[in-house]
């Protein structure tokens, strides 16, 4: 076996020391009637065979490596500098355990401390934690924090319908038994209208920045209204947008969460990603998850350690701020390396490239017969296109005839938005790709749509 080093002689010697005749004897405490069931799995394969099998599976997918992609909606294809993968593949990082033993983990601990620092700078907050599973669960934990902050006396959460639909769904899943209730996202109310629903029951008001449709809502004065009602303001932010736009901190947010995937993490069919969570220092003892702090060792040398540990499940058990244990540590390292190498100027440059290309694409598409783009508000890297036919049909034509993975079909989550496509443009889309998209959309408007063949996989393990 590839990864089991024992020889026959080893086994024999070890069994002798233990004082048993066979390895099977080690399982005598397991009831005989259930012991040693056969596992009906395919026979083990050599490394070569596994590679061949998995290459087949991988090649049966239309990847952004071969296709132009204009799909975003919470997961984005941004540039990932080569350096990131090289750092992540250092065994000292990726095969390390959670840094509970600081003497053996200063590398991980300092990297997380630097990550926390960068997330504070990016969001305009004073404290960030070491990560959540993704942006959606970071939001769910923000709701938990608000619930704890108000000691269950305020139970209402107001969601803007411009918050990612899956994030709102996850927050509801998390809180199906917690007594929190969620309002505001039934229709298409504006942020200003939603603020009318603030009351003494409201714990948290949640907006997204830019919102799910790519637009920057006018948040001027919102924090004041939320705080006047005694509630907290949570902003779900795109970290690339924060390279360009005002920080949620400057807008008065109390909690900033979001998806860190754009910061050097591949699309990878939805995970592993990086939930970031930042807040003001006064709330730090209510945060879920791990936090790294600076201290000194016995020699007075600067050192880092996981701190405020009595919030966590292994110590506080049912009174913990969350059950979270394993987080997305390595993804936080990816973001830390990304933000280091991009730096002050690079992140701004990436954000500006997205902005310019998205605006170019929006203007070109808006000129097409049958299409219109909503440019009523400022937008960043995504925008909504109203198409002359259902988005699913447009996308099928784009993929089959032009090799383009089209935008997100908003009708899936917003029944009042039939034929609306959410298009994402990043620094990874060269002008020629955008021009091809425009041409393809024009073609799709008049294309005689007969049912296309499904993309067929070449291989599959039984």
């Amino acid at each position: 076996m590839s990864y089991i080093p024992h020889t026959d002689a080893d086994r024999e010697a070890m069994l002798k020391v233990i004082g048993v005749e066979s390895m099977d004897e080690l399982f005598d405490r397991v009831a005989a009637e259930v012991r040693f069931p056969a596992l009906d799995l395919p026979p083990g394969l050599s490394e070569m065979e596994v590679i061949a099998e998995m290459n087949g599976l991988a090649q049966a997918n239309a990847s952004a490596n071969e296709y132009a992609i204009f799909l975003g909606a919470g997961a984005y294809r941004h540039f990932v500098p080569s350096i990131i993968n090289h750092i992540l593949l250092r065994g000292e990082f990726y095969t390390a355990y959670t840094p509970y033993q600081p003497e053996l983990s200063q590398g991980t601990l300092q990297a997380i401390f630097e990550y926390q620092s960068m997330m504070c700078m990016l969001t305009g907050m004073e404290a960030a934690n070491a990560s959540h599973y993704d942006g959606a669960t970071a939001l769910a934990e923000a709701v938990t924090m608000a619930k704890a902050h108000f000691r269950d006396k305020r139970t209402k959460v107001i969601f803007s319908p411009g918050v990612h639909p899956q994030y709102r769904a996850v927050a509801r899943t998390y809180h199906q038994g917690s007594g929190m209730n969620f309002v505001g996202d039934e229709g298409s109310a504006s942020v200003a209208d939603l603020a009318e629903q603030l009351d003494a029951q409201t714990a948290l008001f949640v907006v997204q920045y830019p919102n799910f449709f790519g637009q920057i809502d006018d948040l001027t004065g919102l924090a004041e209204r939320v705080h006047a009602a005694g509630a907290l303001l949570c902003v779900v932010a795109d970290p690339i947008a924060l390279g360009l736009f005002k920080t949620p901190g400057a807008l008065g947010a109390d909690i900033v969460v979001g998806e860190g995937q754009p910061l050097g993490i591949p699309l990878s069919y939805g995970g592993p990603y990086l939930g970031f969570f930042a807040t003001r220092e006064q709330y730090v003892r209510k945060i879920a998850g791990r936090i790294v702090g600076e201290t000194v060792d016995t020699h007075g040398r600067r050192a880092f350690v996981m701190t405020l540990r009595p919030r966590e499940q292994d110590i506080r058990r049912e009174k913990a701020t969350s059950n979270i244990c394993t987080n997305q540590g390595l993804m936080a390292l990816a973001a830390c390396v990304y933000l280091s190498v991009m730096g002050k100027r690079g992140l701004r440059q990436v954000a500006e490239l997205c902005y310019h290309k998205a605006h170019y694409a929006a203007e070109q598409i808006n000129r097409l017969d049958g299409y219109s783009v909503d440019m009523s508000k400022p937008f960043f890297k995504e925008f909504v296109v109203t198409c002359p036919r259902p988005v699913a049909e447009v996308n099928e034509i784009l993929l089959e005839d032009y090799g383009i993975i089209g935008g997100y079909d908003l009708a899936q989550d917003y029944p009042d938005r039939p034929n609306q496509m959410l298009v994402a443009v990043t620094e990874m889309n060269p002008r020629e790709e955008i021009d091809t998209l425009v041409e393809a959309l024009a073609g799709a408007a008049t294309h005689d749509h007969s049912h296309h063949h499904h993309h067929e996989p070449d291989a599959g393990l039984g």
Binding site: Y3, P102, Q176, Y269, G270, V296, R317
Partner: protein, 505 residues
Amino acid sequence: MTIDLILQKKNGEAPPPLEPLIYDLGAPGRIGVNLPDPDVPEAELPADLLRATLDLPEVSEMDVVRHFVRLSHLNYSIDTGFYPLGSCTMKYNPKLNEDMARLPGFAEIHPLQDPASVQGALAMMYTLQSWLAEISGMQAVSLQPAAGAQGEFAGILMIRAYHLANGEAHRTKIIVPDSAHGTNPATTAMAGLEVVEIPSDANGDVDLDKLREVCGEDVAGMMITVPNTLGVFEAHIKEIVDIIHGCGGLMYMDGANMNAMMGVAKPADLGFDVMHYNLHKTFSTPHGGGGPGSGPVAVNEKLADFLPGPIVTIIDEGSDEEPPLYGLTMPDKSIGRLKAFYGNFGMLVRAFAYIAVYGGAGLHAVTKHAVLNANYIRARLKGVYPMPFDRICGHEFVCEGHWPDAEGIHALDISKRLMDYDFHPPTNYFPLIVPEALLIEPTETESKEACDAFVEAMLAIAQEARENPDLLHDAPHKTPVGRVDDVRAAKQLVLCCRPVLDPEA
């Protein structure tokens, strides 16, 4: 201690940091990445919406490489040494798995693509679901939970939803043994249910009389770990399951210890209704310095409709010429979505590669060798380290890190001293029911020589504890930093390397 450290101590200065912060490297104006100029006409930026400053490092690519490589040298890792961390299953992380997860056909696909365009990914997930169902004997699997704790949360939410669907809203109690992982009670509380803790008996097994006492029609279910957190196959699993089922509750198995279970017993055959896996323990996906993990849940027919989703199903069976068509489906009574998209997909790819390498007989061999290693180390330490439960163990065992004739020595001292011998310490102070616990789990990937070297270090430390206890109290001596002041870290909070500048200033 190095000469300069001695001199600095004499002069009362703090020794220099091991590695500067990234913010303290570089110089204003330095850039680390080359980006293209815009190839489209530039749009006007909305001046009133822009931030004025952005305080990020200004470093070259090589500054960044050297910084993080130097930091990596300060870490202990599986690739550099033996990690006998009980309940964590720190086995070797095969390099093959890393390459597979990085294939462009897996790493460069978008979660919201038309399922028809990602049939290879869905076929892989479907197969993994069926493999995990087979290993557990369960009927259905959701790969969505991102970590073990989220798998537990899914399981408890499903148990809650099941009782609600049966009109039994009064079932609000989850029974948890006192030996449980902290995630079990924390999960229960998050689901809005009440924790009832029951004690273990003198053998470390669940106290059956106490269990019967707390069982009633308010019980929603029970969570236990198999083998338990003492590393022992509970003697009375069947009785426990019967008691809980008898009062209408469901049985949850914490799958943290599945490395002792593969091909040994299927949780469904033991009577469990729901369990989670930790792919980052049993199936070798790396711990990543704290994550990402992956915590799929497996359930029997009672809970299949309640799984978190979407899950992968076959939409069209196909034929001899046509492969099946896979799709994403939300189970009928699903508790909902636990995270955006479908799970930590990259971890699923790695676990798939791992299971493909081993097959069924191979996974059983994994378990047998994990248990062999644990028992070998246990047998060799016996008589030197007190063991509260002297018997054959599963893939891990617990001993006590203190002696009546070595007063003042604690499990923590032994742990720290092990670092000087270049070993990561075992899990200490868990399970909570054993005083000064050292929970030791070697995993199957360590050779006999590695196990022997660890035993020799443990034996040497036991001797030092009597002869030179200060060596232990002051340990570690050979690590990049000495013991760190965690009280100061919590009292004088420094969570960010410099004050956040008001971006509007």
